[in-house]
Symmetry: C2
Subunit: 137 residues, 2 copies
Amino acid sequence: MTIGELSRRTGLSPSAIRYYETEGLLPAPRRRSGRRDFDAGALPQLVVVRLARDAGFSIAEVRRLVTEFGREGWRRLAERKLVEIRSAAERLRVMTGLLEKLLGCECPDIEFCGRALSRARPADFGERASGRTKRRF
Amino acid sequence: MTIGELSRRTGLSPSAIRYYETEGLLPAPRRRSGRRDFDAGALPQLVVVRLARDAGFSIAEVRRLVTEFGREGWRRLAERKLVEIRSAAERLRVMTGLLEKLLGCECPDIEFCGRALSRARPADFGERASGRTKRRF
DNA sequence: CTAGGACTTCAAGTACACTTTAAGTCAAGG
DNA sequence: CCTTGACTTAAAGTGTACTTGAAGTCCTAG
């Protein structure tokens, strides 16, 4: 399979696929006169990579996920990520609530709303984030 | 209130607060001999900003959210975002399922798992993303 | 008077995840 | 033989969201 075909079948751009290869998310395929020639197994592998990326795994995390699959420590990694995903889902739940409140309220300004919201959920604030583009959910 | 105090109370760094001000997420406070002097309303406003950021709103979206609050089109914006958040939550749900399957399976390699997963959910693939750091959930 | 700490601005730096560009290679079709 | 289109690499560029650094200001305490 050429990179173009793999691209069509996964919805990833060719450049993204090459990038994933250099990042070790995908084993380097054999070359036929210079060009990448993927075998059928590359498709499901990329499917996992894309699922994981879409769900918020970073490149480094996906690398660990696929290269250490089934090995020592892998289960711990997956379980830690599961916890993270659940807390992300919880954040989304909070935000849905916020938006629904804002949509349903008659506050004259957003400051008033914020006052109500900060009284309602004091436990949500205080843990300084400090990561730049780390939090992805 | 000084920026330092506001920082402590919101869990945001002073530099992030200044950045939000230049980006229009927060009205510029009055200055006392050069320094920012926030009044009490700034706290709940920042609370909304932080909630929104944590839940995945981009800077530009938060700006619209707070500056156009209650105005024409605002409701449409909020409702669109609500849809987005729900689909993000769905993605997380998918990922939780993926991880649980991976954790529970006895596949010899990840390629095999990917094969099973791509058969299981063919509808999830094909829509090319094309946004760089747009997808945040 | 001077040192310390918190603040100020502006410019530059950083991390992530790719994309874009430039310059070149290769096989097939006309 | 020449063009076309898909591919190759390496390097540079992009957008988001801040952080960091440099150089300076202001108030308080000793």
